[in-house]
């Protein structure tokens, strides 16, 4: 199933029993069943205004095509899209719709927000076959309910995205990394101190015994802020591989289940210590990736009360829901929304439980 228009998409949905929505299939988590609905036919950049920092693209447009066009004007998607292919053992071409449906955001999230925060508008087709527009292409918009946020990260549970509008960002003229050898507790404490300084950092990560800070902007400003942070924390200017943090590269070739935890940053170090698992930290400790070789760690219990955990990569024999179970009253709202937008349960059945 490969629709080329919203009306074809609508027809396919109305005629289907169960659909497994797929962009490039590069960031699939969980176990969706049903016939594959391939969105790559809904491709193309419809509008790009560099002077207004606005880009509109159909959902099946390859991410690389968008990034290349933006780069030609020295612009980019601010939220730094992770490439999960190596980690998840996937091939294929990442699409912008898949990025949005998974709210995929990299290290710069601490400074500019997530994918959701860069979205200006969406068009999507719901389970009733209705073609729905929400938001638009302007920077500020509070006209009616914000279904754009509802769709971001909804993993296809409410509808199939057909078109997305973004706010984009100018590339900085300078970028510098500051690095220091640190254990987890001290490293994360330093990163939180950097985030709590006025020096506007765009990356705060810890991996393999090194804490890393990134500064971006005009050359003079970056140099000034780097100097201040070096004085404050004793970090040194050095090379740092932010793509490896973003893509969790260190766990890609390793055996084991991989958990993605979103937590209150001050809890991260103790949590890693308690679980005795290898970790990569981003967002100043707000994001923790854990490698669980045996697949037996009780991550969900460990995170209860200060965050949530997603099982990004599983190993045979593991019996764990992919997503953190919600409190009953919240789960009933989620179920209610799914029932309204997808009354026949066509979209990605089984994936979100």
């Amino acid at each position: 199933m490969r629709p080329a228009s919203e009306s074809e998409l609508s027809e396919i949905i109305l005629g289907a029993q169960a659909l497994h929505i797929q962009g490039g299939g590069t960031r699939s988590v969980g176990h969706a069943v049903g016939e594959v609905l391939d969105t790559s036919g809904l491709s193309g950049i419809e509008l790009y205004e560099p002077g207004a920092l606005t880009l509109v693209a159909r959902s099946g447009t390859p991410l690389a095509e968008i990034e290349a066009l933006l780069a030609s004007e020295r612009q980019r998607l601010a939220f730094e899209v992770p490439d999960m292919r190596a980690l998840l053992g996937r091939q294929g071409v990442s699409t912008i719709g898949g990025v949005v449906a998974s709210n995929a955001s990299g290290p710069r999230r601490v400074q500019v927000g997530a994918c959701r925060d860069a979205l200006l508008g969406v068009r999507f087709v719901d389970g009733r076959g209705d073609v729905i527009k929400n938001g638009g292409r302007v920077m500020k918009n509070v006209t009616g309910y914000d279904l754009v946020k509802l769709m971001a990260g909804s993993k296809g549970a409410l509808g199939v995205l057909s078109e997305i509008s973004f706010k984009v960002q100018a590339m900085p003229e300078a970028s510098v990394a500051l690095v220091a050898e640190r254990d987890v507790p001290q490293g994360l404490a330093d990163l939180r101190a950097a985030l709590g300084s006025p020096y506007d950092i765009s990356g705060a990560a810890w991996a393999q015994g090194r804490a890393m800070i990134r500064l971006e902007g005009m050359a003079g400003s970056v140099a000034y802020r780097a100097g201040k942070l070096q004085d404050l924390l004793g970090f040194k200017q050095a090379e740092a591989d932010w793509a490896a943090i973003r893509d969790v590269t260190a766990f890609a070739a390793r055996h084991g289940a991989v958990w993605k935890l979103s937590v209150k940053p001050t809890e991260a170090a103790a949590l890693i210590h308690r679980l005795e698992l290898e970790a990569i930290c981003d967002w100043g400790g707000g994001l923790v990736w854990l490698l669980d070789p045996a697949g037996t760690a009780d991550v969900r219990a460990a995170v209860a009360g200060f965050g949530h955990a997603t099982l990004m990569r599983t190993i045979p024999g593991m019996i764990q829901p992919t997503f953190q179970p919600e409190a009953p009253a919240v789960a009933s709202l989620t179920a209610g929304l799914r029932e309204k937008f997808d009354p026949r349960g066509v979209f990605n059945p089984g994936m979100m439980g």
């Binding site: 002077g51 929400n134 509070v142 914000d146 939180r192």
Partner: protein, 477 residues
Amino acid sequence: MDMPIPNAAIVARKSAIVTRLRSVLPADAVISDPAETRAYECDALTAYRCAPMVAVLPRTTAEVAAILKICHEEQVPVVPRGSGTSLAGGALPTADCVILGVARMNAVLETDYDNRFIRVQSGRTNLSVTGAIESDGWFYAPDPSSQLACAIAGNIAMNSGGAHCLKYGVTTNNLLGVTLVQMDGTVIEIGGPWLDAPGIDLLGVICGAEGQLGVVTEATLRILPKPEGARPVLVGFNSNEVAGTCVSDIIKAGILPVAIEFMDRPCIRATEAFAKAGYPDCEALLIIEVEGSPPEIAEQLARIKAIALRHNPVEFREAADEDQAKRIWLGRKSAFGAMGKINDYMCLDGTIPVSSLPYVLRRIGEMSAAYGLDVGNVFHAGDGNMHPLILYDANKPGDLALCEAFGADILKLCVEVGGCLTGEHGVGIEKRDLMSVQFNPVDLEAQLRVKDVFDPAWLLNPAKVFPLDITAARRAG
């Protein structure tokens, strides 16, 4: 502007409903005397007034839950109210409703600099959130012009912005979690001091839903370390078009000022007569503010100056010190007061693509002549958020209706060029009947379905946001 006919059966049960509310609330928290309920008859959209049946002023989430449970059982509409500063009529009562005011819920519950958040009760005013943390060098970024008075509850309901959201985003980008009381009294926690939703992003749709999905009683907000300093420059141009191009060029050059404000000639003249800020008499004026340490400010301003000078400004004024900086902002900050001095005014906030700025300003000028009503434009140019101020005379019969018709035409124009009806004030009752200009029936139905899930009986702020005819069946139950 029509409002639904009050339900006589509910009004007839007033004393029984008041008795039930008094049984769960302190005596001073239930206001039912018509002389006192009049205090809640309107918000900042003062052209429309209607006293509520009852007003309640709870102090805790538990009290809010008890109120909503009773109202749910009695099937009484509830209109949540923060500080009542809505310009869109978001807190306008109906005669059969309970106004639920959160103004007494103003405590700071938790301040955590290490994790960069503050948790407050939702009735706390926007500016006093920053007030609680600024001596430690922190601030809460969204800054609506009404920030001295407006409550976080209303900011969340309307997804409020402000002059500095070009850099820091609006409320939804700075909101981490809420305690929400549902219409049946169920209390739920959504989000918290961590990022992202585990499943569907309910927080994202609650923010900006104008109090129609639940009553927010507590909020976890992102706080930021204060920048080392800030400095504005003023640039005057002889054409709106050139000023618009200059804005676009600055943005395209990768410079991110915290604010780019735009004033047109009618607005410059009015504020100059009122505030005497010493603005040049020109067609268009930009105030551009940047932040950082002194060398960072100098670096950014040098770039901005180079770009601005390419467009032959009639004036480029830098602020040498704090006093001069204040004078640059003086006129802009007095703009609304200055226009109000001339006449009554209606303030709109339609948003347009920045590239359409010159065309839209020209069309507004033509419409102004056709309607015979003056209009001044002062707005957030960096993000295309217009604020046309239409002057009218409230004492002149028919002038308000004429002004509303002019306003509707401006908003239709915003939609026509690819923009939207409201960038930061919300729909309320003011733009309710224009929703079908921006959305088709299918788009609107999708939004109504969200409310069906959160508030199946349509009791929360029911007569707002959507045209009354499309919600009539739902509101009738």
